[in-house]
Symmetry: C2
Subunit: 233 residues, 2 copies
């Protein structure tokens, strides 16, 4: 498990904008939506609130992050936290999206390092990058691998993994005919869910993703996608 | 999806007793533990509260089940509900265990119907009985397949799936040498988690476990256990 260096390059404001764009497709409780600032000063405060909240997730635990504890730690009035985040779920939605967006910048780096010739080369990337994603920092692990998904994180979890499945499909489109890989995006999404379920089990049992469980995830995804590609070229 | 016939044969009191026995091994918030009645009259009321609560899960939705709504529906004072269930989590823990215990009575029936000669015959049973379990009634589906596990259901989820994995191993012990299947219980538990993750995805996307997703679960579990048994006999 890596140490908690907060090295994300996506800002909270960028993440909130991405969520706002998605909002049309996901039915959300309006209370779970952040109000995105327009002014530069507001943006700085918005980012700062998320930064402080991430620290509190680590120091107090996710269940103890509240408007009050954030205000106290950020040395601002609680009303300033409410101004942008009408609920704690709205805040966690932005925090989760911010961590999620960073994964998009990591995967191309991993893929560039390997010589991709068939799905056999890409299947391990799915598991490896899921592993990197969940363990890149403690906040991601807490947000995404808990048996109990926090409100705000939960609402977008289906759309998040679906987007990732679609995104992976783009890589496969460089290798196969479009007609051959129809429906592949859902197989990729299921691969991600299978990987996650093995990782969650490992964390519940051992407090971390052990090498043995990671290997199991490789085997499962390799075999599962193998079934899809069995009849293709 | 089957209709909601409440045909469970385990009583709420029996389920609460099973949880109490387990309590030594699971760290629980004392507020999440039911107080089990000793007198016959109390047992009847205890079972009745769970029965009414299950109806409310279906009619009001799981988030709207409260001490107050239960008391109103059961025509008893809220204090009588509090007397046995100091929290709603304690109530859901008993309800979940009750539904879970019924699965133990179903699986032997399924296995008796097939001629078991190798793991190849047992692997589909894992998926099939998981399917039966989740779809036996709407309450089980709501309790166990939601992305969001309710407090009380959640705390025992790791121990529940672990127990089921151990239990399945007993069937495999009739077919293999003990030394050959060391560690199999965890592979069986992971098989259950993989099955569940595919079912959850199907429900999130299609509102039910479709045949296609069920087939995918068969493929995944068959391949995953095949990897384990590759070098055995």
């Amino acid at each position: 498990m890596s140490t908690n260096e907060i090295t994300q390059s996506t800002t909270a404001v960028e993440a909130a904008n991405a969520l706002a764009k998605m909002h049309a497709t996901v039915t959300m409780n309006p209370l779970h939506l952040a109000k995105i600032p327009v002014q530069e000063r507001g943006k700085i405060r918005f980012n700062e609130i998320i930064r402080v909240s991430e620290e509190l997730v680590l120091s107090l635990g996710i269940d103890n992050v509240s408007h009050y504890s954030i205000a106290k730690a950020a040395k601002i009035p609680p009303s300033s936290v409410y101004q942008y985040f009408p609920s704690i779920a709205a805040l966690f939605a932005v925090m989760a999206e911010k961590h999620y967006m960073d994964v998009f910048q990591k995967i191309p780096e991993i893929i560039e390092d390997i010589n991709v010739r068939s799905w056999k080369d890409l299947a391990p990337v799915i598991v490896e990058s899921a592993y990197d994603f969940y363990t890149q920092d403690k906040v991601s692990e807490i947000l995404f691998l808990n048996v109990f998904l926090t409100a705000g994180v939960r609402e977008y979890s289906v759309s998040r993994v679906t987007r990732l499945g679609l995104w992976y499909k783009n890589y496969f489109m460089l290798l196969y005919k479009k007609a051959d890989i129809e429906g592949l995006e859902e197989k990729l999404t299921i691969s991600l869910e299978l990987t996650k379920s093995i990782f969650v089990r490992s964390i519940n049992l051992h407090g971390e993703i052990t090498l043995e469980y990671k290997k199991d995830a490789f085997v499962v995804v390799d075999q599962y996608l193998g079934e899809f590609f069995k009849h293709i070229q």
